[in-house]
Symmetry: C2
Subunit: 428 residues, 2 copies
Amino acid sequence: MAQPLRLGIAGLGTVGTGVVKIVRKHAALLEARTGRRIAISAVSARDRAKDRGVNLNDYAWETDAVALARRDDVDVFVELIGGDEGPAKAAVEAALAAGKDVVTANKALLAMHGQALAETAEAAGRAIRFEAAVAGGIPVIKALTEGLAGNEITRVMGVMNGTCNYILTRMEKAGLTYEEAFAEADGLGYVEADPTLDVGGIDAGHKLALLSAIAFGTRPDFGGIELEGIERVAIEDIRAAADMGYRIKLLGVAQRTGRGLEQRMQPCLVPSKSPLGQLQGGTNMVVIEGDAVGQVVLRGPGAGEGPTASAVMGDVCDLARGFRLPVFGQPAATLDAAPRARSELPAPFYLRMGLLDKPGALAKVAAILGNAGVSIDRMRQYGHADTSAPVLIVTHRTARSAIDTALEAMSATDVVTEAPVALRIEHL
Amino acid sequence: MAQPLRLGIAGLGTVGTGVVKIVRKHAALLEARTGRRIAISAVSARDRAKDRGVNLNDYAWETDAVALARRDDVDVFVELIGGDEGPAKAAVEAALAAGKDVVTANKALLAMHGQALAETAEAAGRAIRFEAAVAGGIPVIKALTEGLAGNEITRVMGVMNGTCNYILTRMEKAGLTYEEAFAEADGLGYVEADPTLDVGGIDAGHKLALLSAIAFGTRPDFGGIELEGIERVAIEDIRAAADMGYRIKLLGVAQRTGRGLEQRMQPCLVPSKSPLGQLQGGTNMVVIEGDAVGQVVLRGPGAGEGPTASAVMGDVCDLARGFRLPVFGQPAATLDAAPRARSELPAPFYLRMGLLDKPGALAKVAAILGNAGVSIDRMRQYGHADTSAPVLIVTHRTARSAIDTALEAMSATDVVTEAPVALRIEHL
């Protein structure tokens, strides 16, 4: 029988506790599947006294994650601390320097420092695995890096932040304002300590940057994402979108074109009846398109103890089985620094504006759109009590730059009563 | 640089040709991702003269697949011949005996002989990979065997035969009878030479047997599947199901209970708006439920040149990367011969019958259901021109055995004019 694979687990929050539970509960199953016993040597967390509902007495305790990462009785350092700097980064670097493999759920760390960490790991012949960092329990990193390795990937898309999806779902279902739905999500413990990570689209953007790197063989480039959160999605947009047969989702899209790497993470309209439109609450969905396979869609729980621990354990089992591959699927040194490209691929757009209720107002707006080369597919003007009429427009496919030109010209008129909202429509 | 990985490809139909195309088109990409060149040494097929739209001049030609499997310049034998006996089986056995790894798309071979082949392969230290055998381009074998290896799998379900789904979709959308829709699918080349493989549910059953083996650590047991094809699905059922908010799908379900391994492949009703209900044409969907992850749903193309070749190449890339694991995810010797259990898990059922249009007829049927312990959720009787009234019943959750008792009693009355239809309803 092979030697046991010995884990050191740093961070005993929800996910870390979940990992301990699986290792204890499924010891026999894991050994049957991997041919090795999976053992825990040591753990670390901030508060030793806290009751986590799991027996930790069998494991050595370290107060310092770096010390844990360096222990001689640890083969795999499991980093579940979080954050792109500080102890998580220091401990991962220490683990690699000490010749350990790393399994992490830390999307921020890899999105910001993934290139350097991958180079370090590969130079040391070590692995960094991060299935749990993207889309929770969905084995999407594995699908992209391994299962679909015979494809040139043409596009990757996903709804990958459950908190945003929860807020948008509640706004639609319960008619809550953004502020009300946010407060509800916060009360349920769904929102990160720094809410901008969630609602600003940063967390989802980190995940998209990692998927892009694997899909297109490019260096992770979080800074290259056109990033827009959900903070400005108004209940009026939710209602108007529903009225036109759409739902609003925080959707990430990455593709490589002749102009470079396009990455967007922004609120989009998707058809209500489409698989993306039907996603509820914390469920994530990732869509991968490849030249041979066509379209593959993966759906599953995006967060939580069980799903995230499941993803961590998938990586641990791979390491126990001796599977090793470069961090982003090909050697970090071969990853391309693709130029950033602003998305110019045409799409239909949704526009919402308030129009002054006087003769010629609509004509002005229509002329501006026409002059910008934007053609109208559908338009609705709603009844109204005051002097400003809510107007919705769905355009034919057009470039974002044409929309921006039109929006600018509209704001310069005296008939548009508030800054128009423009959201991209994605049909999958 | 590592030695190239040398393939011998037996079978140059759609999938084999697709594999050759990927190896030629993506040579650089495959080498970047796996660290090795993927080369083709030799190919074999029945007809050398046939134009397959791809240049085969660089490869040695074998007329005999067994000879191909034994070639010294072949590391991986790619079996794309098909069939559970004959040349495919002989060639796979020859390849293993000669110390080659095997990649195959052959679900019949593995469903019928997987246990013996896995034992042979594992004794020889060789791998048999079969991602392409189940659900076409969807990397579901990988998800189940590797990504979700930290889970006790509680249930696996799937719509995995595109031909059946095409026929059922056409019946619903175009109002075709089963015979008309079958003829259309046959004309498009969607039906196997032996149609029973598709419409009898055998092909889908083979796939379910493979998923079960991995999910539950059991020996593949195709013979243990409660198997029912779509040949007896009537247009009346399609219409009645639609009227009640359902669609009919050939759905496979496997789960392990205290009583043993339950495996079913049969036409079921699923809610029209559910992800399964919305599956169109040749698209496949597999649902995996695990104790940690919850539910993961995978959707993608179930057949065709590109998707199936993509799956074959995923396996080839794994072998190029040196990934090796037992055929069914744990050593064949440890797979359990689980007792076969007929599914007794309660579910709602759909019943359709013709009732003689005379007083007391419905009372008799209702009494029979009541006596069998079956309670009615919804019932509809439709207008009719003759003496027999179409009656639909959706029951509350009940065991299949209770339904069977009731059906038998109904057939013994003088009021039921034709054998009642009973289909299980699955809510996912």
